[in-house]
């Protein structure tokens, strides 16, 4: 296996890079969904209070 170290390093960059990015956006999406549902609950509560 010639120059296998370079191939291995490239594979690490590709896979780790992609998985880290997917993890990051997955976490961000969950956080934002959580925030959005909290806002919706607050808004519903305010509407009920107004009535």
């Amino acid at each position: 296996m010639d120059n296998f170290g370079f191939l291995f390093a490239a594979l690490l960059v590709v896979w780790i890079g992609i998985f880290v990015y997917i993890y990051y956006i997955g976490q961000k999406l969950n956080d934002l969904r959580q925030q959005l549902s909290e806002v919706e609950i607050r808004e519903n509560q305010n509407t009920k209070d107004d009535q």
């Binding site: 120059n3 191939l7 992609i18 997917i22 806002v39």
Partner: protein, 239 residues
Amino acid sequence: MAQITATVQSTRSYGWVDKLSQVLAFVTLPLMALTLYMTLIYAPTDATQGDVQRIFYYHVPTAWNGFLAFFLVFVASVVYLFKSSRFWDALARASAEVGLVFTTIMIITGSLWGKPVWGTWWSWDPRMTTTLILWFIYLGYLMLRAYAPSKQQGARYAAVLGIVGFVDVPIVYMSTKWWRTLHPQQVVEPGQVSMPPEMLQAFMVSLLAFTLLFIWILIIRTRIALIEDELEIRSIENG
């Protein structure tokens, strides 16, 4: 008010996108595993470069998806300037970020391939230089959005940059034809394939896997941009 209502409705009506995202994840992840098998075991070892040539199966698909992402930024920016729709702005901003991630991976894998083959990590040859310029254009695009005085102003300026910046994509692609460069001519072009069938099959599987992965990531990232917009609108609405 009409704009706010339209945006909130458009964000909510993307429930089917979550389904599509799940299906894509279900298809893409096994395909990525198949890509590993095809590129490391199934494809034959290159007679000249040896195993390091297998970086090709990752370097080229990430480059292709970077170009695809920047093409989407271009299209979404044009539509945004005409329609001022938040969806197209969200798509452009998501696509620029995902494109930058793919282009970064492409540049690093290219460097790791270049060292054993050309004896250098980096050379200022036309393709590498124009690619680096492309990377800086879209880094600048994201910075422009982040530091613009207002979100709308940032979106408009970024749309112009997204259109003008795309000019570099065909230059990167044609650089191996226009100038003398260390990079070889394209090995896969319409009507002309210069590689053994097993290598071509491995390449096609990898290209398909990375393209589906790109679409999946882009859907998630666009969803994030739309929810960010909705939260901002609601915070304005609620004072």
